[in-house]
Amino acid sequence: MNRIRTTLTGAAALLALALAACTDLTLEPKSTPTDATAFKDPGAYQALIARVYTGLAVSGQQGAAGKPDISGIDEGFSQYLRLYWEAEELPTDEAVIGWGDVGLPELNTQTWAVTNSFVGAMYYRVFFQVMMANEFLRQTTDDKLDARGNVNTALRAQIKQYRAEARFLRALSYWHGIDLFGDIPLITEADVVGNVPQPSTRAAIYDFIVSELNAIKPDLPPPGTATYGRATAPAADMLLAHLYLNASVYTGTTHYAEALAAAQAVIAGPYSLNPVYKNNFLADNNTSPEIIFAIPQDGLHTQTWGGVTFLVHASCGGDMNNTTYGIDGCWWGLRLKPEAYNRYAAGDLRTSTFFTTNQSIAVTSIGDFHAGIAEPKYQNVTSTGAPGSHPTHVDTDFPLFRLADAYLIYAEAQLRGGGGTRAQALNYMNALRVRAYGDSSGVIPDSALTLQFILDERGRELLWEAHRRTDLVRYGLYTGNAYVWAWKGGVQAGTGTDAKYNLYPIPANELIANPNLRQNPGY
């Protein structure tokens, strides 16, 4: 008995000591890779650059919603393209949205607060893209690739292209950032994640983007169907053209000659106008010869509640039949403001998609879908009338840059003294007019080619393509009372607004999170 006791006691003591020694606390994630393990798969480089692209197209890592990229706002609302489109269109003379979600109604009327959740989400979307691109660049330095030892020559060549594309996407979002918010921080791959960024200026970031785009052009993949959805040299030229055209807004110095040259470079490329205007906005618009850079959407592979899914559904309501547009239901949201509708003359085929039955021209009430003409410009049916692959999530890609825009930039830069010839400008303009009318009835004489005409034509040709706010700001008509439109300033007749609204505010939370930043003037 005693022996048993002694044995037991001894065993217990030994067990105690053995287990007490077990103090290892390390448990690494198993069902998700970490930055230390992800690149053991050489496919991770493509997966990571693909993720920088999908930052424009989806809202998270689970379709259509789930594992969101940014938080603090409903995930569907947080999608990049949706936010950017709303920021560019709702406060202008082109669009109104009828929903009462907190923060949204103020976008219709230029009355937002510094705490506006949509404005805040757009700001964080810009920097989400920047941080993703930076992470790609940090993970693909030569040192890192050498150290991992599993990157062959072919993959290295690929990665070189990817790095240029990451820089393009970063430049694109920085353009949106300075266009919407003015002075924002400049964060590159050289900055340490976690450090509170220092402020930069609109002009400095402008310079950064321009130099980046010029530097990467040779490394970008060539245009063609094999690189559809990816950034090419003409896409970089298109982005440069926009930057130069608006340079006076961003830096106070004009660069119209450079704008014209960049537009010309695009026009010289392999693109041509799609003979049928509306086919640029249908479910098979990936086959359009006109689109230079698109944000691809796909009903089965690239799903989101934002993006073009939002545009197709929100444009539908009232007496419209959703199946006509290839979707399962209408969201009763977007209509035209009367100024946008009235800009078109009879015979303009670009109005062929307008829906007028039981829709008034005047927007008597923002919340009533029947007030304002409906414009199902984006549709989830193909050019042959077949529905898209999914009734909720559309196949229709968003044409961020298309050739018609390059024509319009050429014409405007020419008129603003950027060189080129006025005859060429008129040619480009009339090319668009002939397509719009289906014949020469819309052709304009040289005398009609004015800057105001170009602004109006941009309104007609690029309606609801997320350019309007930038255009109106460049023309000096966005705020103030030189030009008022329905609901500008919060009244139906429209009224002048404070010049502070030319920029969106830096989000109130961001100012506290980053004390280095300063609020935009007037807020």
Binding site: P29, P33, Q62, V130, G229, D328
Partner: protein
Amino acid sequence: MRRFHYVMGALLALSWTAPLVAQQPTGTIRGRITDNATQQSIAGVTVTVAGRIALTQPDGRYVISAVPLGAATVTARIVGYAPALQPVNVTGDTMVVDVALTAQAINLAEIVVTGYGEQRAGNITGAVTQVNADKFNPGRVISPEMLIQSKVPGVQVVDNNEPGGGIAIRVRGPTSVDIGKGAKSDPLYVVDGVPVGIADGQVGLSAGRNPLNFLNPNDIESITVLRDASASAIYGVNAANGVVLIQTKRGGRQAPQFEYTGSTSASRVTRLPSMLNADQFRTAVMTYGTASQISQLGSANTNWFNLIDQTAFGQDNNFAVSGSGENTDWRLSAGYLKQDGIIRGTTTQRLSLGINLDHRLFDDRLDVRASVRGSRADDEFTPGGVLSNAAQMGPTQPAFDSTSLTGYYDWPGNTLQSPDNPLALLNLATDKGRTYRSIGNLRATYRIPFVQGLKANLNLGYDVAEATRQSFYPSVLHGQTKTGQDGSDYRSDFSQSNQTLEMFLNYLAPLRSIPGNIDLTAGYSFSQSHAEYPSYLALGLTTDILGPNGITTARTVQNFQSIQENRIISFFGRANYNYQDRYLVSASVRRDGSSRFGPVAEWGTFPAISAGWRLSQESFMQGFKSLSDLKLRLAYGKTGNQSFANYVQYPQYELGDAQTQAQFGNQFITTVRPGAYNPYIHWEETKAFDAGLDWASSDQRITGTIDYYSKSTDGLIFTVPVCAGCGLTNFNTQNIGKMRNRGIELGLSARLLQGREGGGGLTWNADFTASDNKNTMLQIYASPGVTRVLTGGIAGGVGTNIEVLQPGVPVNSFYVFEQRYDSAGKPIQGGYVDQPTVRDTVACPAAPGCVGLYRPDGVINQDDLRPFHDPSPKWIFGHTSLFTYNKLELNFTLRAYIGNWVYNNVASNLGTYSEVTRASPYNLHSSVLQTGFTSPQYQSDYYVEDASFLRMDNVTVAYTFNYRRQPIRVFGTVQNAFTITGYSGVDPTAGINGIDNNMYPRSRTFTGGLSVRF
């Protein structure tokens, strides 16, 4: 590691001082100490004679040797009993001195379970409340937490009206903010010494209802709540939200005994959302709808809620047999419960088995206790959307339509803006789950032979769970076709296993060099958890023919797998010092390491100290004859909270699925996303102070306890906005912020009527608890940080939040506009008070609405929202009365909350005439008749209501009689007998966040049953 050696060494050194005594003729005294009234042995009694001292063993026996010869006095002393003195004349022989003690004050001698041990109630220095089975709430109880509702001061049990639904317990208010990947406010649950569910911060895995439902309430002996930091700090990094210790029933030392308890119940719904009836709805549509909506109106008169609710029946059967052999006590139990919900489609069924075995070996030196319990729960859930669509569906429309594909009526067209037929949803969709769970442990206690009072304990425990959930929504359902989901089939098969190993030494002995007793505990604990969460979701089903039974080809299939692992390693020690039951000191320290913390903060130390002074033992108190006990307690401790998400410290690369691919040419590329991470994450730390006073009247009729506490939590873990560029995304999980809870708790028990001498007559025992808690968010760090974080998502709009975390106000305060009213008292649509938000350099006394330097900006926008009340009750009151008259018993429990506010989301979402202008009109909440709102006013404080209430939670009548000399008890219980409240919605206890949105309605339940023992 080295620390561990020290603790063991110290313990051994202390005990080996025993043999050092002088060599002179001595005698030995031995005996047994018993309770005068019950004749039961009493363990832990301090027996002294001539400066020699011993403690009694569990069988009440003691031995004192080396007592000098001659006259001496044997003194036996233990808290709760009057000290006994017995003169003896010590000779060289062994003398037997048995002593019977007389109870002095009620409950003081009761053994209370504490962490890693137990103590006499009278000697406890922390805020600890134990509720034994005889005080549990009666009636239909599915979840164990419900047993102690209203019984423990400072404990809020937030139940869910769904039978067996999720339950939250808050001990002394919320200590965490429960957001995102942040830490949870739930207490730690310890069942028979095994901490359950420290795996992922949850109580464990289940198919969707309360994970603690695996425990059959009939098997529970006692539930103890460790409320303050000094009591709970022995659980270290898991203890900040309090600790709930659950002990199960064990065998007794007697012949086999059989017990059966059975009951059946019937429930009816008490309150439903107040929607417009058919006539009112028709009038609303005719007035506010367009031709399109008016043309859709039918002529039926359908009460949709009547179609989906039911009288719910339930039954509960429990059988237990217990007994003992010479060295073995055992108890076997089996239970079967089936309960339907008052909303059709809801059912819960539970089969449970339990075995407890206590075995004594080696002359009772080794106690082995094994405990295994397992259960299978089958849950059926009312399909999602039934309640909300019953509210929204037009009462003028019929339920059935023989021409439709499903046989049920649906609005014409197939639009997103038409509610679904709730009856079709209820009858065609299925949602069910099954949970297997078993928890068990083996505890060995070895009284080491050569050191008196030293015990070695080993505790091996496991907790495994397997939960499957399956829901099927056929493609023909209106809700499926209108959303383009076209049929959905979801399956999950989650599993989790936790293991715990604990070893500790316990030394309980009188001190020889100084007066008093000491009780030392030191140990090591290791626990780890592995959980897997695979799931399958198919959308766009090609056929409904297989229903939920098969896998059909689908348009979209999404599969998920997540593995979660977690480990905690701890060293702990505690010392209790007791000087003559008069001065009591307790100190504990625990050092915890958790795999959840980043490398810089893996380990944390959590100390606590408390002291008690039993004033009633002092001579100067002897004049106060009316008091038999008066104890002052003071305690201070530090505890932690680590119940937040795993792997926050690792830079994870989240893989995308097949629906978030990038298009490169004609290829679709799956993506990977670098995620936010925080290598500096560490535990939340709560520092708590408690001062308490316990008293008992000398006639043993009244006992009371009162506590004041203040606890502040620092380093709150939640997912908060970070500055652009400060992380890979705009939110990250951080230790950010600080909050405080302060309050007063009062508990009173009284035997108001004591019946006749020798039994019978009328008795009345009453218990009363009152708790006040004031929570304040103190700080959200400035850099990097934010001034406020919005919480409390509601139905209505998208992403609309109604609550806020903001310094200076309670967590989750409502964040709303201040509604303006017209002269008739009607709220003005869109009429909100323009709050002073613009700061001027000089005061603006002339402008209306100015406050100091701040003036209104003339625009109503998001800047004009302000915090306004909060969902937590300011005061919680509980009262239980038990009357007995001979064999008859009447028992009721009342509960009252004061100062809890609720946001009536059904009213705010559906109380606007714009709802009838949808593609098909939605039914309206009747509040629209008062407000006349024609557009939604989600953020108006009009919908934030004072939901203070008084509720009779249960009332029971029981009668006990003997049949063939065996006791039989028959009883009837009414639960939720009545509720008195000014709140207009469905239930004033609207969950923990105070948002009343299509919640499961509350029922009144009638239960009848009997229990027999033979």
